[in-house]
C-alpha cells in the first residue's frame, strides 16, 4: 500500500488503539447525530425565542444550560445548531468524496494527458487556502449554506482525488482487473463494480477525517458571520454571539458551543483514524 491518508498533525496523535477511547468517540458521534436528527422534538424551547428580560441567566430548572445575551435557551440552540453544524460538513464530505473519487479514478485509469490535467489542476487547488476560497465565494454569492459548502468541497477534493488516484493506480495493476478485462468487461464496469468498492474503505476513512476539519472550517466561517444566515442556530455562530456574554461575565453560552465543536471534531477524527488503521492492518 503506497497510498497514505492525509492525516494532519495534531489530532492524529490522540488515537489510542485498543483503548475504550474509540468506542467512547463512536458513541459521542452517534449521540450528536441522534440529537441533530431529533432536534425539533428534543429542544425544550424555541431556539430563536428572544427573552431580553431573562438575558444572561445562569442554569435553572427551566433553562438547563442557561440563556445567552438575548435570552435564548442555550440547550435548545445547541441541539438545533447540531443540525446546521453537521449538515454543512456532511455536504462538504459527500460532494468532495463523490467528485474526488470521480477525478481520481479518471486520472488513474485513463492516465496520459487527462491524468496530467486533473492532477495539476487539483494541485492548484491545494495551493489555495480553502477558507479563503470559501470567504471569496460567500462574498460574491452572499449568505446561505450552499456557497461555503461547495467552496470547501472544492478545497477538500484534492485530498480525496489524490488518495483515490494512487489507490486506483495500485489496484489496476492487480491481476484480477485483467481477468475481468479478458472476460469482456469494459473499463467503466470494472471501475464501478470492482475497483471502487475495493478501495472504498480507505477513501471513507479519509472522508471521515475530512469531516472533522470541514466542521472546524464551517464553524470558523459562521463565527466570522459568513455562510450561515444570522438567525439560524449554529455552533460557530453561537460562539460569535457569546462574545458579548463573556464580556458581561456569563461565559457559559460561548464555552458550550466551543466544547461541542472541539469534542465533535476530536470524536470524528478518532473514529476516522481508527478506521484508517484498521484498513491499513487489513492490507498488511
Amino acid at each position: 500500500m503506497t497510498a497514505a491518508l492525509v492525516r494532519r498533525p495534531g489530532l492524529a496523535r490522540i488515537r489510542a488503539a485498543g483503548s475504550p477511547l474509540y468506542l467512547l468517540c463512536l458513541g459521542f458521534v452517534g449521540l450528536v447525530v441522534l440529537l441533530a436528527v431529533l432536534a425539533p422534538w428534543l429542544s425544550p424551547h424555541d431556539p430563536n425565542a428572544v427573552d431580553l428580560g431573562n438575558a444572561y441567566g445562569g442554569p435553572s430548572a427551566d433553562h438547563l444550560l442557561g440563556v445567552d445575551s438575548a435570552g435564548r435557551d442555550t440547550l435548545s440552540r445547541l441541539v438545533t445548531g447540531a443540525r446546521t453544524s453537521l449538515l454543512g460538513p456532511l455536504g462538504v464530505v459527500v460532494f468532495s468524496t463523490l467528485a474526488g473519487v470521480a477525478v481520481g479514478v479518471a486520472a488513474a485509469w485513463r492516465g496520459g494527458w487527462l491524468d496530467s490535467v486533473l492532477s495539476r489542476s487539483t494541485e492548484l487547488v491545494f495551493a489555495f487556502p480553502g477558507l479563503l476560497l470559501a470567504i471569496l465565494i460567500v462574498s460574491i454569492y452572499g449568505d446561505g449554506l450552499l456557497a461555503p459548502v461547495l467552496a470547501l468541497a472544492v478545497a477538500y477534493l484534492p485530498y480525496v482525488s489524490r488518495l483515490t488516484r494512487s489507490l486506483v493506480l495500485a489496484e489496476r495493476e492487480r491481476p484480477y482487473v485483467e481477468a475481468y478485462q479478458v472476460q469482456g468487461h469494459s473499463g467503466l464496469q470494472i471501475c464501478l463494480r470492482h475497483v471502487i468498492p475495493n478501495i472504498a474503505p480507505v477513501v471513507l476513512a479519509q472522508s471521515t477525517i475530512n469531516f472533522g476539519y470541514a466542521l472546524i472550517d464551517l464553524a470558523g466561517l459562521s463565527f466570522l458571520g459568513l455562510g450561515v444566515p444570522a438567525l439560524t442556530p449554529d455552533w460557530g455562530r453561537m460562539v460569535f454571539d457569546g462574545q458579548v456574554a463573556i464580556q458581561h461575565g456569563y461565559p457559559l453560552s460561548a464555552i458550550l458551543p466551543c466544547a461541542a465543536i472541539v469534542l465533535t471534531v476530536v470524536a470524528f477524527n478518532v473514529v476516522g483514524e481508527r478506521w484508517a488503521d484498521q484498513v491499513a492492518r487489513r492490507d498488511r
Binding site: 478485462q181 479478458v182 472476460q183 470492482h194
Partner: protein
C-alpha cells in the same frame, strides 16, 4: 478450420532495439491442445495475451492474429468484447490474485454472462453450477469467497469461469505454476477431460517440458521472440532437430538417472536492447558456425516430416539423434 491462426506476428515495445515477438506463426485447430514452451522472457506469455489483445501499453503490432477467422488486432471495441465474452477465454497463472477477493465465487462466475451477454440471473447461476460440477466442485462454492478455497480449487473456479461463455479456445498461461505438484496433475487431467467433453481448443503456455509432452498434441518451442521448432509432441521430444530444444530436453532433471550436477544451457538469452543479425541462439549453441551469426535461419519443414518445422541452419546435424543418447 483453425480456431486460432497467428501469422507473422511482430510486436514492438517502445524502448527495445528489436521486436519482442518476431514473426510468430502458430495455429491451434478446433479441439486441439497446443503447448507453447520457452524460458522466461521468450515471448510466450505475450503471444498468448495478444490473442485477446491484452497488450502492454505502447505496443505496436504487425501481422495477423485470427480467432475463428477474425483478426483480433483489427477488431473494434465491440467485436473485441464479444470475443472476450464468448469465443476465447483465459486461465491465469495465479488464481489467488486473478479473482477479486471481495466478491463471492458465484458473482465472479456469472458476472460476465449477466452484464455482457444479458443472460438472466437464474440462467447464469444454473450454468455456473453446471460448470462448477464439470470442474469437480459443487454449487456450495457459489456462496463462498475466494479466501475460503484452496489454490487448486480456485484454479478449478478459474477454469469454470473460462468455460462459462462456451469458448472455442482457451488460453492457459502457466495455469499450474502456482500450484503444488499433486494439484498440478489434477488440473492438467481436468483440462484434458474438458477438452474432450466441450471440444475447445487449448493453447497451453508453459516452461515445463514434461507437462507439455504429457498434455499436448503439438508443441511450439519459442526462443527470443521466435518459434525455434514446432511439431507433433511425440516426435519433437523424441527427436528434437533444433539445438535449443535438444539443450532444453538435456537440462530436464530426471529422477531415474541421478547425474550429479544438473545440466544447464550456458549463457543468457539475448537482451532486448541489442539487434539480432543471425540466429538468436547462436552465442549459446554448440553447433554454431559462421553462417549462424550472419544469417537468420528460416523456419522450414523437415524433409520426410512435413509437420515438423525447424529454424536452424544445422538441423541436419541433429538428424538421427534421440534424446535418450
Amino acid at each position: 478450420m483453425n480456431i486460432l491462426d497467428i501469422q507473422g506476428l511482430r510486436l514492438r515495445l517502445p524502448d527495445t532495439a528489436r521486436p519482442v515477438l518476431d514473426g510468430v506463426d502458430l495455429t491451434v485447430g478446433a479441439g486441439e491442445t497446443v503447448a507453447l514452451v520457452g524460458e522466461s522472457g521468450s515471448g510466450k506469455t505475450l503471444t498468448s495475451r495478444s490473442v485477446l489483445r491484452l497488450l502492454p501499453a505502447g505496443a505496436a503490432t504487425e501481422g495477423a492474429v485470427r480467432v475463428a477467422g477474425q483478426d483480433v488486432l483489427a477488431m473494434n471495441p465491440a467485436e473485441l468484447r464479444d470475443l472476450r465474452t464468448g469465443t476465447a477465454a483465459m486461465v491465469f497463472q495465479d488464481p489467488r490474485s486473478a479473482i477479486n477477493p471481495l466478491r463471492r465465487i458465484g458473482d465472479f462466475l456469472t458476472e460476465s454472462l449477466r452484464l455482457n451477454a444479458g443472460t438472466p440471473e437464474a440462467e447464469a447461476t444454473a450454468r455456473a453450477t453446471e460448470m462448477l460440477e464439470a470442474v469437480g466442485l459443487t454449487a456450495a462454492a457459489l456462496r463462498q469467497y475466494p479466501g475460503e478455497l484452496s489454490g487448486g480449487m480456485l484454479q478449478r473456479v478459474m477454469i469454470a469461469a473460462a468455460l462459462m461463455g462456451g469458448p472455442a479456445l482457451i488460453l492457459a498461461d502457466e495455469p499450474t505454476t502456482a500450484l503444488d505438484v499433486t494439484t498440478q496433475a489434477e488440473v492438467v487431467a481436468l483440462l484434458g477431460d474438458l477438452r474432450e467433453r466441450f471440444g475447445t481448443g487449448l493453447l497451453f503456455v508453459t516452461h515445463d517440458l514434461g507437462l507439455a509432452a504429457a498434455i499436448s498434441d503439438r508443441v511450439y518451442v519459442m526462443y527470443a521472440g521466435r518459434i525455434a521448432e514446432t511439431g507433433p509432441a511425440a516426435t519433437l521430444f523424441e527427436r528434437p532437430r533444433h539445438p535449443y530444444t535438444a539443450a532444453l530436453l538435456a537440462a530436464t532433471p530426471r529422477l531415474a538417472a541421478p547425474q550429479g550436477r544438473l545440466a544447464a544451457i550456458e549463457g543468457q538469452p539475448p537482451s532486448l536492447q541489442e539487434e539480432l543479425t543471425g540466429c538468436p541462439f547462436a552465442p549459446r549453441c554448440p553447433l554454431a558456425t559462421e553462417v549462424c551469426t550472419e544469417r537468420m535461419p528460416e523456419r522450414l519443414p523437415l524433409p520426410g516430416d512435413p509437420a515438423h518445422w525447424v529454424a536452424c541452419h544445422h538441423s541436419d546435424r541433429l538428424e538421427g539423434r534421440t534424446t535418450d543418447e
